[in-house]
Symmetry: C2
Subunit: 352 residues, 2 copies
């Protein structure tokens, strides 16, 4: 039994005594103890050493008081497992020196034996679960097939992602073959994460919002739907597709327990689009944590009142920025924890 | 009298015999004749030499058959006029070697004498109008104050724009002083463009969508509103704020004649949010021009049918990409020009 199960309850749509809260990228560079480990070990050493990944995962739980841990890892380990080299240069984005661009390139990737290739992730989950000792739930995660395809084809981040779009528009059969391989790998990967102890799964579609709503359905959502359906009887899933607000009703119908939102949508509009039968998560502009603390508290309070109580997990609208002061991050968490909804606001919500 | 005044009519909400069409960045790198001039003259020479700017402006009118010319220039000339150095390195973004970050930096910028500092723009407009000889209207433009502030503070493009956001959140008085200076300069600049002959004005808020809807109102929309109101009796304005779909009703209420849309919103939803009393412009994913032509035509036809006839200007959802083949650009324009709406679709629209 998890002692603080606020997030699990919120994901089930059950009422909670207060709004649960965590932060995307909460185990990361804004924490001085993380930076110490970063100075000693390179990125993939941190990811692939269960003791280090566990230590990093626990830092925000112990130091900031978030209501969930999220495994310290990276969405690109799946591409490594499938056979691709991924380099991660500190303070820069990831680079794949040999991206996939043609049919011949496909011989370089395959659906891997997950246990063999990503065993260190499951070891880290088991160790983290032991160390957490049921204090809070552990969130496992994976990148959406579309976002992984972006890196696979572009070989790095991009402003317009026209290489991967051209790939999809001119070689759709290849694109769909890769997307299906990514989907199959991700399902096996997440199933193993759950078996190792993950209590919740979040799917990150960082680049879903680059697609038109129709293309989002074709190249992203239909694969995320497969993943969420495959996990449906195991754990609740959170679906976060940055910028894909234009497909909120479609995301709701995947069967996800929760839709993550970025900061570019008003909570009231998100709730209208999503309906009342699903939990929402988000959506403070991560840059707002750079505001002076009194201002920051005002913004968080406004957000909480806009979402209203129930079926809601407070979070940022994207990952926490590296140079946020720790006391600002803590002010965010504490403002959520101490918030009291006015009765009036509850009535507003129930009249929706 | 402008011979092809389809766009003017569409902006007035009058019915047109067919849907008018142009492309953002239509005078640019995808055209071989543009690339020839680029190889001979650097960016600001092209912008500041009226004969070159005119030649470039006319290229897509003569070669692709668009229904409007848009002046070849750059939004950052306003920052130059205000006193800042702007470097533009080919194939890279703009760089401001000395960005504005503090109160002391403000002494380096001022509201300029527009005629003196940007006379070359008005010369280019007059020359272009002569060469156009009333074939199609000429669109003038400026960057939104918020987007200009982003460059002013960041000094270059950014992934998260946290420098400019931190600036706004921690030094709001300075930010608003700069935004007002940018607004005053832009109003004078656009008024002069109209005086020189611009028939329509488009405001580009490339980074408006990085702000939450509330911050968009505070740091962007209230300044764009001033600009649009100041031009209201002169020419119709098109307001394009990329990614700011969350504020469509608020953008409509600025008094703009038309709202430009990016490709991440379904036309039907945009129309619902905007109401029927305004013209919409957009919104094909620019990367879709990289599709094989038959596929491209299908996508354009789908877009046209989704918007339906009337109160609509076909365009891309952002600037045309540099490596789009010219015949693909032409296929986009021709598909719009040749489109015949089915009667059924007209009825659907009128029932909105």
């Amino acid at each position: 039994m998890i002692k603080n199960d606020l997030i699990i309850k919120a994901l089930r749509g059950e009422s909670t005594e207060r709004t649960p809260v965590w932060m995307m990228r909460q185990a990361g560079r804004y924490l001085p103890d993380y930076r110490k480990l970063r100075d000693k070990y390179d990125f993939f050493t941190r990811v692939q050493t269960p003791e280090l990944a566990t230590e990093i995962t626990l830092q925000p739980v112990n130091q900031i008081g978030v209501d969930a841990a999220i495994l310290f890892s990276d969405i690109l380990v799946v591409l490594q497992a499938m056979g691709l080299e991924v380099q991660l240069i500190e303070n820069k984005g990831p680079v794949l020196p040999e991206p996939i661009r043609s049919k011949d390139d496909l011989t370089r990737v395959s659906v891997p034996d997950i246990e063999e290739m990503l065993g260190y992730v499951f070891d880290a989950i088991r160790l983290t679960k032991m160390e957490l000792n049921n204090r809070v739930p552990l969130i496992g995660f994976a990148g959406a097939p579309w976002t992984l395809l972006c890196y696979m084809v572009e070989g790095k981040g991009s402003k317009t992602f026209d290489l991967v779009k051209t790939f999809c528009y001119t070689q759709p059969e290849l694109a769909h073959r890769l997307l299906q391989m990514l989907t199959d790998t991700t399902i096996a990967y997440l199933k193993q994460q759950v078996k190792a102890g993950a209590d919740v799964i979040q799917l990150f579609d960082s680049w879903g919002g680059l697609l038109s709503p129709d293309d989002f359905e074709i190249f992203s959502l239909r694969y995320m739907r497969q993943i969420i359906q495959a996990l449906r009887n195991d754990v609740p899933s959170i679906l976060f597709a940055k910028g894909a607000w234009g497909s909120i009703p479609e995301m709701v119908s995947t069967g996800a327990a929760c839709i993550g939102l970025d900061w570019c949508i008003r909570p009231e509009i998100a709730r209208k689009l999503a309906g009342t039968g699903i939990t929402l998560q988000g959506n403070l502009d991560p840059a707002r944590l750079l505001s002076p603390i009194p201002e920051l508290k005002k913004e968080v309070t406004k957000m909480l009142n806009s979402f209203g109580p129930g079926s809601y997990i407070a979070n940022l609208g994207h990952g926490i920025l590296p140079h946020v002061p720790v006391d600002h991050a803590k002010a965010f968490i504490d403002t959520v924890k101490n918030h009291v909804y006015l009765k009036q606001e509850k009535q507003v919500l129930s009249s929706l």
